[in-house]
């Protein structure tokens, strides 16, 4: 709340005593210049950030992706090697393919499970009743804590050889194993961690469900539609823009999992590269092995992949996302 006053130094107050003419500001002439200057004054921090923190670094990294650069090299020593990094990546680096596979499996398994859980719980929590707010809040809690190191540590303890999960399984006579240390299962534990945080898409689903007009259900039941037909022919089409929104958001986030994989594997992506998510591999090459040029190339391939993915998602969306009239979502 102290924040409101924190904005104080940014803008000098100007009472502006000039003769105010009503409506003049909105015209194409006069007021435009004044607002034009003010616009750029207010925009200046963002513009600086765009240039200094986003655009220039990105162009620099594009350049460096064609060089053999490590943070230790001085700028005179930067050697242009053309497409060598990219060639190496696609033809001489099995770990690159490993990272791509791990990331794809992670996202393709986790995102649908997460969205299904989110939708199921949202449907159950849709109607207002006493205490529903508490349930919504508690289901959302893991999403808030989810990205933290603490929970990744808890996860490795839960799924360790002598961890609580195996104790639980022993209850049913199943002998578990050290899940986090087994190349076949380590990624699975990360997927469960990701699905566990279904609260954020759930809340978005809840908002979407609220916007489905009640009359549609009434009309459908008058026409004799069974509850399952109502679900498939009313709820799902009406909800499709929200499903799409969640799908895009969670897919992109799914491609960026880093903390849990880093912590569970102690920064290695192990066991046997089974949790080597792409971002983790990028970090390893860039900051553990100091091959910034190669890491820059990895980053640009990643960026291109996310761009392509977004385009693909949006173009398939046309076939199943239903936008009701006046729905500007």
């Amino acid at each position: 709340m102290a924040l409101t006053t924190a904005s104080a130094p940014v803008v000098p107050e100007q009472p502006g005593r000039r003769a105010p003419a009503a409506g003049k500001q909105r015209g194409p002439g006069g007021g435009h210049g004044r607002q034009g200057v003010a616009g750029y004054v207010f925009l200046s921090p963002w513009l600086l950030g765009l240039m200094g923190v986003t655009a220039i670094p990105m162009l620099l990294s594009l350049y460096l992706s064609f060089t053999d650069y490590s943070v230790f090299s001085s700028w005179e020593d930067v050697e242009w090697i053309g497409l060598e990094n990219y060639r190496e990546m696609f033809t001489g680096d099995p770990q690159f393919y490993r990272a791509v596979t791990v990331t794809l499996v992670y996202a393709l398994v986790m995102v649908p499970l997460k969205l299904a859980a989110a939708l199921a719980v949202a449907l159950l929590l849709n109607r207002a009743w006493r205490g529903v707010g508490l349930f919504r809040g508690l289901f959302y809690l893991p999403s808030l804590l989810g990205g933290s190191v603490a929970l990744a540590l808890v996860w490795s303890a839960l799924f360790a050889g002598d961890g609580a999960v195996n104790e639980f399984l022993a209850f049913f006579g199943i002998t578990g194993q050290a899940w986090v240390n087994d190349p076949d299962y380590a990624l699975g534990t990360l997927i469960i961690l990701g699905v566990w945080q279904f609260g954020a898409p759930m809340v978005i689903f809840l908002a979407g469900l609220k916007q489905v007009p009640v009359e549609l259900y009434e009309a459908a039941s008058v026409d004799g539609a069974s509850p399952s037909r109502q679900f498939w022919h009313v709820t799902m089409p009406m909800l499709s823009p929200v499903i799409f929104f969640n799908l895009v958001l969670e897919t992109i986030r799914g491609f960026q999992g880093f903390t849990s994989a880093f912590v569970v594997s102690n920064g290695t992506g192990g066991p046997v590269d089974s949790t080597l998510l792409y971002t983790l591999y990028l970090y390893k090459r860039g900051f553990a092995e100091f091959e910034m040029g190669y890491a820059s190339a990895l980053a640009w391939v990643f960026l291109a992949a996310i761009g392509i993915l977004t385009v693909v998602l949006f173009s398939t969306g046309r076939f199943w996302v239903h936008y009701a009239d006046g729905n500007d979502r």
């Binding site: 924040l3 670094p57 289901f139 808030l144 954020a200």
Partner: protein, 292 residues
């Protein structure tokens, strides 16, 4: 009439309300227990003896001990006092820098007419989709070239003061669009410049958006690992998440209790924020798709 899932459950049963609701409630409670178990377990385990942590899946300790908290606090050459101070300083500076810079940028986008406004707005939306992981290498190189790496506060705070968190800019633009334009016009007629409108009209009315932004940027910064891992190289500068990671680095299973105790403490600020702002957080992400 009813939500479809409820309707489905209800028609299976003859007695629409009581049985349908009971089944739904049972499913929800079962789900909730499953979701909350890991959190309850880590809190309970932080009070268990070392031998008990690994083998006991129950939440409550059989023998209660608080010794992990004192031991954990002093596990490393630098105590957790320092790590918590570092985390707090970084989080608070980030919150203020982020809120101020995003607010002024949002005001320009939402309210002012200036040349190329549409173009810049499109760029801003584009940066929303830009993954932070892609930017970290080039940013590191730039900050390294500027010699900022030895003063780790600069690379962590400066980007926030320059409104690079496009998400919050977007959130505030959306919020400001809901503030009636009549108010701007009235203030303009009364002689306010665009700066005066910002100061007297938009800033006071943007308080809810500012609070939402502050809460989320605090939580995100507190939980952040990637950026801090990259820029903090000196034990003295470590934040809580980076320090927590030392537990798996150095000591292994023997200090599980200490690790859990510090994990619980690290989650505490976020949890307290959650309790205090639960309503706002859950409602706040409705429109925006925020995520922790």
């Amino acid at each position: 009439m009813t939500a479809p899932a409820v309707a489905r459950l209800a028609t299976i049963r003859r007695n629409r309300f009581t049985i349908g609701q009971a089944v739904r409630l049972a499913v929800l409670i079962a789900g909730l227990l499953l979701v909350l178990y890991p959190l309850a377990w880590v809190i309970g385990s932080s009070f268990k003896s070392d031998a008990e942590i690994a083998s006991n899946i129950s939440v409550l300790p059989t023998e209660f001990t608080a010794s992990h908290y004192t031991a954990g606090w002093n596990s490393f050459d630098v105590s957790f006092t320092r790590f918590f101070i570092n985390s707090s300083v970084i989080a608070l500076l980030t919150v203020v820098a982020n809120a101020v810079s995003c607010l002024v940028a949002a005001y320009a986008f939402a309210r002012l007419r200036f040349p190329m406004r549409g173009f810049w707005f499109a760029i801003m939306i584009g940066t929303l989709l830009l993954p932070g992981d892609v930017l970290i290498i080039p940013q590191y190189i730039v900050f390294n070239t500027l010699g900022w790496i030895d003063t780790p506060l600069l690379p962590l705070i400066v980007p926030k003061a320059l409104a690079t968190e496009a998400f919050f800019v977007f959130l505030m633009v959306q919020f400001m669009r809901g503030i009636p334009r009549d108010l701007d016009e009235a203030a303009t007629i009364d002689g306010c410049s665009p700066y005066g409108v910002f100061w007297h009209v938009i800033l006071p009315l943007s308080r809810p958006a500012l609070v939402t932004t502050a809460i989320f940027s605090f939580i995100w910064t507190w939980n952040d690992f990637f950026t801090q891992l990259v820029y903090l190289n000196d034990l003295e500068d470590y934040t809580v998440p980076i320090a927590l990671r030392l537990f798996i680095d150095s000591t292994g299973q023997s200090s599980l209790g200490a690790m859990f105790a510090m994990s619980v403490l690290s989650l505490l600020p976020v949890f307290l924020f959650f309790v205090a702002f639960q309503r706002m957080l859950v409602e706040g992400i409705n429109t925006s798709g925020l995520k922790g």
